[in-house]
Every structure is written in C-alpha cells, then in structure tokens.
C-alpha cells in the first residue's frame, strides 16, 4: 500500500493507524470544542483549563483513542480511556416527562465551588465530581432526558474533559478548519472538497494542475489520493507560489512530499510557441525560481506562528511543527517541479485541474490554465459566489473550450439520531460555495493534437 510503504521508508514497520514519535496528530478536545494540530514529540504539551499536559502518553496509541485528564504521581497527566465513551452510562429513556414542573432557579445545586475545589484537592476524578454534582442537584431527577443530557455534557466538559486523538486526513483536517477557521480554507466544506476531487477525476498516477489559494488544503487532499504516484503541481501567476502550510499537517512520507511541486504559469506556458524548450532555459528558470522558493519556507513557518498568535482558544497550531524532526529539507513538500516533469506536461498536458481562488475572477485563471490540460481531461473550479462562475461557464461555452459544463452547489446536513430525539440539524453551513466542472475538449472542429 502506497501510504503504508511510504511510512515504512521513514519508520520501519510503522502501522499508520498507531501514532509514532514525530507524527502529526489532530487533537479534538471535548467533542470539537477545541481542535488542535500537533506533532508528538517528547517535549510537546497542551494546555487544558489552567494546566499543561505532556503529549508523551499519546505516542504509540491507536488513532481514535480517547484520553482523560488525571492527577498522576508527577502531576496532571493524560490517561487513555479504554472503554467506549459513548453514552456516559446515562440511561436515556423515551421522553415522557416534560418541563411543566420545573422551576428554574439557581438554588438547585447545593455543592459549592469551594466543595468542588476541595474534592479535586483530595484527588477526585472528573467523573466522581460529576456524580457528586448530580447527587447534590435538587432538579436533576425532575429534568427531561434532553435537559439531563445537556446538563451532563456541560459538567463533563468542565470537570472531565476528553481528548480524542484523530488521524490527520483530508477529511478530519478539512472538518477541523471548517469548524474553527473556515475563512482560512475559503469556507471549503468537506463535501465540497470531496466533490472537487471526484469531478476533477483525481486518481493514482494523475498529473494534477492546481491553483490552490486555500493554504494547501486542496494540495494535501490531492496528494493523499495520489499516494506517492503522479504529481500535484501548484501553479501561480507572478513570481511567488501560494503558501501550502496545511500540507504539513498530513503525515506525508518523503515519497508523497516529492510529488507536491510548483511551477509558475509562465513557466508552464513558456514553450507554447516553441516546439521544445531548451533544457538550459528551464534550468535557468529553475535557478531563478529557487530563491523565491526558499522564501516560501520562511513565510510558511511565519504563518504557522501567526496562526498560533491569532489563536482564539479554538484551534491551535502547535509551535513545535517547525522544530519537528520530520520537517527537514528532505521531506518538505512543495519543491520546484522537476524539469523533466514540466517537459512531459508540455507534451501530454495535465490530466486534472482544480482551481480554488476565492478572491479572483475564475475566468481570468481558467483561460490561462485550461490549455495546459490534455484533451478529455476533467476540471473543477471552486468559488464562494455563484455569479463569477456563471460568467466563467458562459465564456467557456461561448469559446467552445469545454463540454459537460455544470455549476453545482453541494449541500450537507447532519442529523442527530438518538432514541426519541432524532432530528435534522441545519445545513452544516449555508456557505458551502459552488463548483464549476467540465471536460476540456479539442478546439473547435480541429483534430490536430496538442
């Protein structure tokens, strides 16, 4: 398996479903209340409440494990919960009570803040504190199942926080960003991302051209699907590639990182009028570009720091990302595209194209980059607004550059399914954006090959 194999290159016999020293993880605290990315090093810590916890106990645990806060001999530690945490042992019965009898006042709880502090000092666990709170609540038994559940959840979050160890995959990363910093990924929802990959026909050995201005979320998702085959080539207008910081959050192997490259649109077009570009020219361009290329690595680590500084308590990028042994020159994703790859792309064209540039006119981009695709190749353009895509689609039709054109708007809605309490949530977001997709065709009635 390609992802597995790649892991094996760096970690002999590493099971990709168990964390290892230096791996990137997504920590979900209290069921999504806080989400943070981190690398598991011996020194890395997280702060929950007013205490710091070492992440050391997380190393070697399977992804999907849950941890709770405990007072160990040497201070507070994260301890793995081996029982399934669902349910909380609260028997949720069919709703029969209602809140007729319930008088809301604040005198219902006889346990004081001081009492709780005292319990903690004596080493009571979070669950014990919650049990005490229930026992000392005058209204808990009178509450409806709804209210009981709500009460328990609130107390559990406060007194017995849980940390869920998630595998950083395109799905979990996109969901985490969307939940906490949607603007950083241009409000791209996970279902929209999944559609972009499908509609652009991304598969192993694809040669994917990208305009990814969403900090690398699409680059990462495509690279994950390529599994160390093919190429994901980020292109850009001007001299500086767009940052792809999010790629660092995936546990990409060296093989996969090697497949993430960039090349300016000018470079990809350079031989448009020549039959073949001289290798020298290309090497030259490559050299010239190596400098700005070096520069991205610093802005990107700066960005990581900025992210941390901007942190609002809900999503954090651990500062040890840059210090991690994994982030060395070798495994760094986003190198300059190799000359021979560019040459082959010029000959054969790319097999897929995805554009996500929320603040730019999509037509201006697609008219430049669509000719870089091979005929019959699929493309997908994401935009937050409908109107620019409508204009873009109109132009593509008018210029007969593509067929199968379609603007689609993905919708996603989550349901709560619990006994007697099943109901739909609202759409996860009403700002899921729009996708223009289609297939590039050979120019109008021309049959000559590209």
């Amino acid at each position: 398996m390609s992802i597995n194999k790649s892991e094996e290159n760096s970690n002999q016999d590493q099971n990709p479903r168990i964390t290892w020293k230096g791996c990137s993880v997504l920590l979900d605290i209290n069921d999504g209340d806080r989400v943070l990315f981190s690398r598991l090093t011996t020194g890395s810590k997280i702060k929950i409440g007013n205490k710091n916890y070492s992440l050391q106990p997380l190393i070697g645990c399977p992804f999907g494990s849950s941890f709770q806060v405990e007072d160990g001999k040497e201070g507070p530690v994260l301890s793995r919960v081996l029982q399934s945490t669902e349910g909380n042992n609260l028997q949720i019965m069919e709703e029969s009570r209602d809140n007729r009898m319930l008088v809301d006042n604040n005198s219902a709880q006889s346990l004081t803040v001081e009492d709780i502090d005292e319990m903690r000092r004596k080493g009571a666990s979070g669950d014990e504190i919650i049990k005490a709170l229930i026992a000392n609540s005058a209204t808990f038994e009178k509450k409806t199942a709804f209210s009981q559940e709500k009460y328990l959840l609130k107390k559990q979050k406060k007194y017995a926080p849980r940390v869920l160890l998630r595998r950083p995959f395109a799905r979990s990363i996109c969901e985490a960003y969307f939940k906490k910093h949607a603007e950083r990924i241009g409000f791209l929802r996970v279902d929209t991302l999944s559609l972009l990959l499908s509609l652009a026909n991304v598969s192993a050995y694809s040669e994917v051209l990208l305009v990814d201005m969403l900090d690398g979320i699409i680059t990462g998702a495509v690279a994950e699907r390529l599994g160390g085959t093919g190429y994901v080539c980020n292109t850009y207008c001007g001299v500086t590639p767009y940052p792809i910081n999010i790629v660092q959050m995936f546990n990409f192997s060296y093989d996969i990182c090697q497949r993430i490259v960039h090349s300016s649109v000018a470079e990809l077009h350079s031989s448009e009028n020549e039959t073949a570009p001289s290798t020298d020219e290309l090497e030259d361009a490559s050299n010239i570009r190596s400098q700005p290329n070096e520069q991205i690595s610093s802005p990107s680590s700066q960005n990581a720091v900025i992210m941390e500084e901007n942190e609002d308590g809900n999503m954090e990028i651990m500062s040890d990302v840059a210090a991690s042994p994994k982030v060395d020159k070798g495994t760094k994703a986003g190198r300059k595209a190799p000359v021979e790859a560019i040459k082959l792309w010029k000959e054969n064209g790319f097999s897929s194209l995805i554009i996500a540039a929320p603040n730019l006119d999509p037509w201006g981009i697609i008219k430049e980059v669509l000719p870089l695709l091979s005929y019959s190749a699929s493309f997908a353009v994401y935009h937050q607004y409908l109107q620019p895509l409508a204009t873009c689609m109109h132009n593509l039709q008018a210029e007969k550059m593509a067929i199968g054109l379609q603007i689609s708007e993905p919708w996603l809605r989550e349901y709560q399914v619990l006994p007697s309490r099943t109901h739909q949530h609202m759409q996860m977001s009403v700002t899921g954006g729009y996708i223009l997709s289609g297939t590039r065709i050979s120019g109008n009635d021309q049959t000559q090959t590209k």
Partner: protein, 405 residues
C-alpha cells in the same frame, strides 16, 4: 397602522362588573382557564364573554377602552388611520435589523442608548418611518409595529426562521378573517400575533399554555400590541385535558406545538369543523411519527413539511484579476493587506454586486467597495453560530385536513 385612542382609565370604575362577567364565563364554560388572582377584566360591547381574560400585570399599564393595535381591525378606521406618532403609541425603534426595541411613546419620555439621548417629545407628530436624532446626532428609525417586527423584538437572531414557519402555518391552516383558531402552547406568542392578524377583524384566537407565567407574559404582550380583543390566553394542560368542550365543532383550525402532540390530537379533532385543518409542529422525527400514527384514524391528507429560509448578503465586490496580481501572493492573508490600500487602480478588478447566502439574518451593512474575501474574513464564526440557530429551527410541520362525517 398603529391605532391609539386616549380614553384613559375608562374601565377602572367598572372593573368589578367585568371581573364578575369573566368569572361567570370561566365557571359556566368549565373551560379550565386559570385566572391569576389579581386579574383585571375588560369587556367591550362587541366582544363575546370568552374574550375577557387578562392578567395581573396589566394593571400597571395604562388601560384604554380602545386598544393600541398592531394592525387595524375596526371598520370605522379604514383609510383614515393616522400615520403620525402620538403620545401613548407603541413604536419599534430600529437600529439595525438585529437590533430593535419596542417603546411606548410618552411626552416626557427619554430613551438612552449607545447613540445618545432621544426625547420622545421630538418624535410626536412625525410620521412612522422617520429617522430621529439623539442629542449626539446618532439616529434610529421609528417604525409602526407589525407581526414580523414584533417577532424580531421578541426574540433576536432567530426571527427569520420563525417567519418562514409562521407564514407557512397561517397559509396552510387556511386562516382568513373571521376564523376561530385554537393554539397550544402559546410560548412567546409570536405565532399567536400572526394568527390574530389573519383572523382580524372578526375572528378569534384561543391560545392555551400550561405555564401560568408564560400565559401571563403573553397576555401582557397582547395588551401592549392591542390584540387583546382578538386573542384569549388560557392556562390549561391541553395534553392532559384536551381543549375546552365549548369549542366542540367550532374551530376552523388547530395548531399544536407540544412535546407529545399525539395526546392532544383526539381532542383537537373534536374541536374542528368539517374540513378544518390541524397543524402540529415538532422538532423530532419520533414525535412526528407518533402524531401521524394517531392522525391516521380521523384525518386525511396528512402531510409533513419542513420549512427553511435562507438569507443572502449583498455586497458590491471587486473580483480581482489573476493577471493583474503579478508579483504579490494572492493568498487570503495577503489580500487583506491589499484591500487596505485604497490607491489600487480600479481597472485591476471588475466591480459587481454579488449575493452570498447568509447563515444569520444580520442587518445589511452599508455597501462598501471591498474585496470579496473581506466578506469571508468578517464572519469567521458565522458557520458555528448558524449551526446553533438551526437547532431551534429545524422542525417538522405536519398538516392535515380533517373530514368528519
């Protein structure tokens, strides 16, 4: 449309009589209305005795024979109502779409908010819809109350969701002037206000809530909005006791918003006229399933709907061209900086008006020339808030036409 007459405290003297009338209704009808002990009753000649239930807190308000009304329902007033603000009127102070307040105008009144101090006396005589200024030059708009504005005043932020449900319910229950409508529970009275608007001038809404306190607040609100002659609020456990027998076969429509609606459905079906419509409103599918099961014995045309409303944000935005972006990284971050520089040549972008679906119904801010991404950066938490709002809203409506032979 706000009506106001100034026959003040006209009823003070006859309150004994009214209280007696009200009691006789309550006893005679055996309706289960619970009346607060310090109740004040009012009757106008045109009102049926059933109309006369009101509560304690009303005493503290100024009481008029003809009430302030949210919409006209007195035929003598058509085409001649004043659109000018008078002393005693209820006005809606509009700061923004999500910041409104209901205020009773009084000649000596003063309103203070973040914009400064407003004197009520300066409002009197101005038409509704006027912009009025504070001592500091800040301003608000004074609007005549409507059912929709009232809903906004009652509960901020979730209003637009309520409006979609309310409108659909009124339409689907086929409520027109003259209808007799039963409702339980009353809740905030938001739907009740719209039901009253639809049955005016000569119909009536009987609304019931289990909670004495909630019923009292609702009554107080109907006094403020002048709807007391159209709405009667009763305290009753409809799930346990059903609707009062006096409405047997008299209701055009019944609306249920109860945790266990299936318990109230057998009673509701007895209250309905032939071909009358019942609507039950439930958040959970299990409630809907049980209700539908119960409904199948007496009702036909059972349909279940979910109503949603999305709002759009309209902005005039620059769509930057990729080609003109030479040299600067057009990431979201760098665009933010770019937007600050106002010397950007206009030809670098095309200016268009774009609409984006909105999670929340916020006031539309003044149009600004801004980059598209600005819209995104402005609402970083829009999504989260939205999920929260939606939990309240995502409910089922199931509507049925009963055929009783």
């Amino acid at each position: 449309m706000l009506r106001k007459h100034r026959n003040k405290r006209h009823l003070a003297a006859s309150s004994q009589l009214q209280r007696r009338a009200a009691r006789s209704f309550i006893d005679g009808a055996n309706s289960g209305f619970t009346v607060a002990s310090t109740v004040t009753m009012r009757c106008s000649p045109s009102m049926s005795p059933v109309d006369c239930v009101s509560t304690a807190r009303i005493i503290s308000l100024r009481i008029d024979l003809k009430f302030l009304t949210m919409f006209p329902f007195d035929s003598s007033k058509k085409l001649s109502f004043s659109r000018y603000i008078s002393d005693g009127d209820l006005v809606i102070l509009y700061e923004r779409h999500d910041n409104m307040k209901a205020v009773k105008v009084s000649e000596s009144g003063v309103l203070q908010n973040r914009f400064g101090v407003f004197k009520h006396s300066e409002w009197i005589g101005k038409p509704f819809g006027s912009k009025v200024f504070s001592n500091k030059g800040g301003f608000v708009y004074l609007l005549a109350p409507t059912a929709e504005l009232w809903t906004l005043v009652l509960s901020h932020r979730t209003q637009i969701l309520y409006i979609a449900d309310i409108s659909f319910v009124v339409m689907y229950l086929e409520i027109v002037p003259g209808c007799l409508v039963l409702e339980s529970g009353t809740g905030s009275g938001s739907l009740t206000t719209s039901l009253a608007r639809a049955i005016a001038p000569n119909g009536h809404v009987y609304t019931f809530d289990f909670h004495e306190q909630r019923a009292a607040s609702a009554r107080e609100d109907f006094e403020r909005t002048g709807l007391s002659s159209l709405v009667t609020v009763g305290v009753r456990d409809i799930q346990g006791e059903g609707f009062p027998d006096e409405f047997l076969g008299r209701a055009d429509s019944v609306f249920l918003d109860l945790p266990q609606p299936w318990l109230a459905i057998p009673s509701a079906s007895k209250m309905l006229k032939q071909d009358g419509v019942l609507c039950s409103f439930s958040p959970c599918i299990e409630q809907v399933q049980k209700s539908c099961e119960t409904l199948r014995s007496d009702f036909t045309d059972i349909r279940t709907f979910e109503v949603l409303l999305h709002t759009y944000e309209v902005r005039e935005g620059n769509v930057w061209s990729w080609q003109d972006d030479d040299g600067s990284s057009m990431s979201l971050k760098s665009c933010k900086k770019r937007q600050r520089s106002t010397n950007e040549p206009e030809n670098a972008s095309s200016l268009t008006i774009m609409a984006r679906r909105n999670g929340e119904s916020r006031e539309q801010k003044d149009i600004k020339n801004c980059l598209l991404h600005k819209v995104m950066v402005e609402n970083p938490r829009g999504t989260l808030d939205h999920v929260h709002v939606s939990n309240t809203f995502a409910r089922f409506l199931h509507s049925q036409a009963t055929v009783l032979y």
